[in-house]
């Protein structure tokens, strides 16, 4: 047989992955210009979008690409936030270093808890419940340990002016946006490279049929744990960024179940298992979150009873989720992509 056919085809496949990379990089470059056009209020919405995007991208690796449904990504998010917070508050360590430490710790936590859950063959809903339990365990630790300052949480000591080393900028600075954007792009590039790699291909095969994968020589446990580690690390980075943006964390804010839900939403809304799905989902959810917060702060006439209440955002998410699952089960981006493929 000739080798020309496979070679050109290999190129075509790399090209397809490269196209996703191109979209990411060009989209990123355009997004970097946004602060020039946005006011401070809109910019804070954009930063919310970026936090959603990072969180959702992390969840999507383990649950969308890896097929292991997680209901406990708050564990990794919180580890990222608390690791950086603790090192900064207690030892004056730069949050950049804290970010790396948090990502490593979260990956290690994911590997250990993932091993325990998978070792005992937990699947589907049972696996999801185990991840929920592990996240709750960390929340209770954070709530009761002096190390994490119990229920009070950690306040990031303020610096004068802006400091890249301390990852802290005055209110209204666009630097937060650019940092968040850079981290999100980095995460996306990692995901694309992962999917192109041997390990990433194994992850998809294991998701589709793990017995068949094992019978072809794929070490299923190793593939699953690697996928979890990458997912946890990306999510932890989101946690550190959250800490530096809000300058405050407590157990409920970062280890609470609502974080785990917010990790699931962007991918489900945008398209589970697609690289760009969580980004599209985040662009829907960020503004929605802001809208609901605004409604609670200044309710329109006739809805005065909303004043000062909480939980409206969760109700809106729930309604949106039901709508998406009914109408576009593949998510916004996933459905659009499927529609375009079918037309060709």
């Amino acid at each position: 047989m000739t080798t020309t056919a496979p070679v050109t085809d290999t190129v075509a496949q790399v090209e397809r992955a490269d196209r996703t990379l191109q979209v990411v990089l060009i989209g990123g470059a355009l997004a970097a210009l946004l602060p020039l056009a946005l006011g401070p209020a809109q910019e804070s919405v954009a930063i919310r979008v970026l936090i959603f995007a990072l969180l959702g991208t992390g969840w999507n690796v383990m649950s969308g690409l890896g097929g292991m449904f997680s209901f406990g990504h708050a564990a990794y998010f919180g580890l990222g936030a608390y690791s950086a917070g603790y090192l900064l508050v207690e030892h004056d360590v730069s949050p950049w270093i804290g970010m790396v430490v948090g990502a490593v710790l979260a990956a290690a936590f994911g590997v250990v808890t993932g091993f325990l859950a998978l070792r005992y063959k937990l699947r589907g809903a049972y696996f999801a419940l185990a991840t929920l339990a592990f996240a709750e365990m960390l929340r209770l630790f954070a709530l009761n340990l002096d190390l994490t300052n119990k229920a009070i949480g950690l306040n990031v000591p303020l610096v004068r002016g802006s400091s890249w080393w301390k990852l802290q900028f005055p209110a209204g600075s666009s630097n937060y946006y650019w940092v968040g954007l850079g981290l999100t792009l980095l995460a996306l590039v990692c995901v694309v490279l992962f999917m192109r790699s041997r390990m990433g291909q194994y992850a998809l095969a294991v998701r589709d049929d793990e017995d068949a994968a094992a019978s072809l020589g794929v070490d299923v446990m190793r593939v699953k744990l690697t996928t979890i580690a990458l997912s946890a690390a990306i999510t932890a980075v989101a946690g550190t960024f959250y800490l530096q943006y809000y300058l405050f964390v407590n157990p409920d804010l970062v280890f609470g179940n609502s974080v785990s839900i917010q990790a699931i939403l962007p991918a489900v809304v945008g398209g589970v298992g697609t690289v760009l799905g969580p980004i599209v989902g985040a662009m829907v959810l960020g503004p929605l979150a802001d809208l609901s917060a605004g409604l609670l702060r200044n309710p329109p006439p006739g809805l005065d009873f909303l004043q000062g209440r909480s939980g409206l955002d969760i109700m809106i998410y729930a309604a949106l989720l039901i709508l998406i699952i009914l109408v576009l089960p593949k998510g916004l981006y996933g459905s659009a992509r499927a529609w375009r493929r079918n037309r060709r």
Binding site: R198, D209, A212, A213
Partner: protein, 243 residues
């Protein structure tokens, strides 16, 4: 010629039901062993126990003289013994080509794995469908995909679980040719099959299982003329059914 696979006293029970009891046999390198027996005789369980999909209760499996009893499925595959599934188990969201490339990746880097996958696909006659998503394939094509994936691992011992089932006679012929080609290139084959004409034509030896036990083992002609086999497997009507 020496035995590449030696099985001694292999047993496996499920909740008191003896799926396999005291199964022993050996296979020469580069030969074809046909495995026959009525439904529920333990053929698929035998494959599962050999390949680490289930752990045998007792007994030993030696591959090239090395004890691999109860080893996990992926390690058995890496040691060179690979099986196909009776009910096809494709990676449904992936393309035909990526399905095969997954198998080839154990020994090749990604780009080489894709090239190797194309070669194997050509060999089993799926080259035209390589871009199709596996979920969209017909049964006959899925059977071939199952075979292609196993081949792409470059196995020394290949265990085929009813690769001909669901194929019309015209579709069987190229598969049979392929199996003979594999034997000629030194691959050892074990195949479970209900299509008797194929068993008779391909097998160097035939192993007959009945209720989890080895009823007999011998050359194809010996087996078909054995009264016990005719009784157990063919219900006495073998001479009428014809090979």
């Amino acid at each position: 010629m020496s035995a590449i696979l030696e099985v001694t006293g292999l047993s496996k029970s499920f909740a008191g039901l003896h799926a396999l009891s005291d199964v022993s046999f050996s296979v020469e390198q580069g030969s074809i062993l046909g495995i026959i027996g009525p439904n529920g005789a333990g053929k698929t369980t035998l494959f599962n126990a050999l390949c680490g999909t289930v752990k045998p209760d007792t007994g030993k499996v030696l591959l090239r003289g090395k004890d691999i009893t109860g080893r996990s499925a992926h390690r058995t595959a890496r040691d060179g013994m690979v099986r196909t599934f009776q009910l096809m188990r494709p990676f449904a969201t992936m393309s035909v080509r990526d399905n095969v490339a997954i198998a080839a990746q154990g020994k090749h880097r990604r780009a080489a794995a894709l090239a190797h996958a194309d070669e194997v696909l050509k060999r089993v006659g799926l080259a035209d469908l390589r871009g199709v998503q596996a979920a969209d394939l017909s049964t006959a094509h899925l059977k071939r995909l199952e075979l292609a994936r196993a081949l792409a691992t470059g196995p020394e011992v290949l265990l085929l679980d009813e690769v001909l089932a669901g194929l019309v006679p015209a579709e069987r012929e190229p598969v049979l040719e392929l199996l003979l080609e594999l034997r000629a290139s030194g691959t050892t084959l074990l195949f479970v099959e209900h299509v008797m004409s194929a068993v008779m034509r391909l097998s160097d030896r035939v192993l007959v299982l009945d209720q989890g036990r080895v009823l007999m083992e011998g050359a194809p002609a010996e087996v078909t003329s054995d009264a016990r086999v005719v009784e157990a497997y063919l219900g006495g009507g073998f001479s009428d059914a014809g090979p």
